[in-house]
């Protein structure tokens, strides 16, 4: 309702995503939603609640517990002209469909010499923060960003939750959307877009001059909080939200480093071989002479995510860690 109108409305990340799905289902009869418990249950995080009633079981399709089969079915349906939106409950379970994502979705266009684009959207939850322990909390989007042939999105704001799906569906290639589980209840104002939403550019969420804080997804809120704290100490931090993890917006990263000359990268993935490592390497390659301090990274501790609240908090990047890293870079 309101979220698709022309006025500013109060909504949540979850509702914004649902509204995006509703709009897609309404405006294009090739679109259908498929996944475990997306229908009757309303989606394991409640994103698709009510869509079954509105669009029926053909287009809001509950699947058996067969990640490989229904992701592969999404690929096949996309090849045959449909525009499936496949939901995988969490990134952890996507590993059971990794074969289909990597060996089919990402490769078919190339292996077929350009004959077979796969216009498929796969959505899944990622990330920790809800004491779900070591099989429901990891951030593996950096792995997916490793794969040529797919686009990887991480909507971090209500606006992006609402508006990234349409361009993702318009993309002729597979698009993976990672929704951080801690974001669903985030509420805020949603204004109609002032410019066309594109999937190629990072966003400056807060302009600054002293240091670049580069992040995405679930870490954006913590990073903005860190920027607030730094502002109180007269350190002007620029917050870059990558938004698209593949392909990376190199120009935005380079431009920000050229303004601030100091960088902290915040990534909920494990540090080793992480997306943060990739961003850091690109800065070393492209902006080396702009740097006034070594690049800092704030990532998750290299442990399987623990259950106990205090341990989980200690394992995750926190605002205080970001502030401390910024101090190391600035001092």
């Amino acid at each position: 309702m309101g979220a698709s109108g022309t006025e500013v409305s109060k909504t949540t990340y979850r509702e914004a995503m649902r509204e995006a799905l509703r709009e897609a289902l309404r405006s294009d009869d090739r679109v259908f939603l498929m996944g475990e418990d997306v229908g009757r249950y309303g989606g394991c995080f409640g994103v698709s609640l009510g869509l079954l009633e509105e669009f029926g079981p053909e287009r809001v399709r509950d699947t058996p517990l067969s990640e490989s089969a229904f992701v592969g079915a999404g690929i096949g349906a996309a090849l045959a002209g449909m525009r499936p939106v496949v939901e995988i409950m969490t990134v952890n379970f996507s590993l059971l469909a990794l074969d289909q994502i990597l060996n089919n979705a990402a490769t078919l266009l190339h292996m077929s010499g350009g004959q077979l684009p796969v216009p498929l959207v796969i959505r899944m939850t990622t990330g920790a923060g809800r004491q779900l322990a070591a099989q429901h909390s990891h951030s593996l989007e950096g792995w997916y960003a490793h794969i040529p042939g797919i686009r990887v999105l991480a909507p971090a704001t209500i606006e992006d939750a609402r508006h990234m799906l349409a361009p993702a569906l318009a993309d002729p290639d597979p698009v993976l959307i990672f929704e951080h589980g801690s974001l669903y209840n985030a509420s805020g104002e949603l204004a109609p877009p002032t410019a066309p939403v594109d999937l190629d550019h990072a966003a400056i969420r807060r302009p600054g001059t002293d240091i670049s804080l580069i992040t995405y997804g679930g870490s954006l809120t913590k990073t903005l909080a860190a920027a607030d704290e730094l502002a109180a100490e007269d350190i002007s931090a620029e917050v870059i939200d990558l938004r698209t993890l593949r392909p990376l917006d190199d120009a935005a990263i380079t431009a920000s480093v050229a303004r601030t000359h100091r960088v902290v990268i915040i990534d909920e993935g494990w540090r080793t071989g992480s997306l943060a490592a990739e961003v850091s390497a690109r800065i070393a390659e492209g902006s080396f002479y702009e740097l006034d301090a070594p690049v800092e990274r704030v990532c998750s501790a290299e442990v399987p995510m623990p259950y106990a609240r205090r341990l989980e908090e200690a394992a995750l990047p926190q605002t205080a860690d970001i502030v401390a890293a910024a101090h190391r870079a600035v001092d």
Partner: protein, 361 residues
């Protein structure tokens, strides 16, 4: 690309047949006895289609030894009756999903030998532009969706093609080939359940050649009656003599009729045998030479010509004519592949994504 491809389709032997095929397709009464009285012409067509695959692959062996073709090459020799018999029941509107042992499926489907050979050579004129090779043959214009070298990896995708048809009430069938080894993979079982649950128009064609690489059927399956196990998913499933092209055709017609009538997925277990090693790399140490010889007695090509002779059909004359035509066709395919341009290295990053700009990131 596909436009260019169809324009260089010099001749397309298997394709024109499919037009009249639907007209001759009559409901079959049972599997035991052929319901349609096969005409001499039809048997000759079947013979030619099988011989084309046999001779094409024999030439591939030579070209492999001559290092013109590289990579993994999996030969279909001995199993030709399966691809040819199944293809008889399909129309150009139907879809085919195949494996890495796919030259037979591709040729039976009507992809020109020239286009397949160029792909084996890794040339730009190949049916996958040289990006795929022997294991990844594609032809979107013939709804031939490859060419998957992940054992069982094509099955979920085939279910999706069938799902799209079901959702849009398209009276088409998707045919998916896979082996006895694939039957042990989770992706097979997930797909069988999903397809039966949703009543998808999917023909599951299990080529049971008794081996998954070097592992014999009984060493990979606790229960080796694969058709029976497939039936447990609630779909019609039965075993067929995969060395008898007419038996395969008849079973395929019956299954496809069932699927088109809306009774959901069907499973066929084709009992067959590969006469050659698993791939060009395989020293074939895991089976008895005597076993191979026993199966060669049932060679699907000889089986058909014997039957034609028994029926007093003019086999020898036909054979000479067919062999000549196929030799010419393959000679031409090889010559064309030799001449064909390579994809320029500057195009390395093409077709990674649909937008060329993204290839850099």
């Amino acid at each position: 690309m596909s436009v260019a491809r169809s324009s260089r389709t010099r001749k397309d032997p298997a394709r024109p047949k499919s037009g009249k095929k639907t007209a001759t397709s009559k409901p079959s009464a049972s599997t035991e006895s052929p319901a349609r009285q096969p005409s001499t012409g039809h048997r000759t067509d079947l013979l030619e289609a099988m011989l084309r695959i046999r001779r094409f692959e024999e030439r591939c062996v030579e070209l492999y030894s001559a290092t013109k073709i590289r990579g993994f090459v999996h030969l279909y020799i001995g199993e030709e009756a399966v691809a040819v018999g199944i293809n008889e029941a399909l129309t150009p509107e139907d879809a085919v999903v195949s494996t890495y042992r796919e030259h037979g499926h591709a040729l039976a489907r009507g992809i020109p030998a020239e286009s397949v050979m160029a792909e084996m050579y890794g040339k730009a004129t190949g049916c996958s532009g040289g990006h795929g090779g022997s294991m990844h043959l594609f032809d979107a214009s013939r709804r031939f969706y490859g060419g998957s070298a992940i054992v069982a990896g094509g099955l979920p995708l085939a279910a999706g093609l069938a799902l799209a048809d079901r959702m849009r009430a398209q009276p088409r069938v998707t045919c998916c080939f896979f082996g006895d080894g694939a039957f042990a993979e989770g992706e097979f079982h997930e797909t069988a359940n999903l397809a039966a649950l949703w009543g998808l128009p999917l023909l599951l064609v299990c080529e049971n050649n008794l081996y998954a690489m070097g592992t014999a059927l009984a060493r990979e399956h606790a229960q080796t009656d694969l058709a029976m196990r497939a039936a447990s998913y609630g779909m019609p499933a039965w075993a067929v003599d995969g060395m008898d092209v007419e038996a395969v055709e008849q079973a395929a017609r019956r299954a496809v009729e069932g699927i088109r009538a809306g009774t959901g997925p069907h499973f066929l277990e084709l009992r067959t045998y590969r006469f050659r090693a698993h791939s060009m790399y395989d020293p074939d140490r895991y089976r008895d030479k005597a076993e191979i010889e026993q199966w060669k007695v049932r060679d699907p090509i000889n089986r058909l010509t014997d039957r034609m002779r028994e029926n007093g059909e003019p086999v020898e004359k036909e054979l000479a004519r067919i062999e000549q035509r196929i030799t010419d066709e393959i000679d031409h395919a090889v010559a064309a592949a030799e001449q064909a341009p390579e994809e320029p290295v500057e195009n390395l990053l093409r077709h990674v994504t649909s937008s060329p700009a993204e290839a850099v990131s």
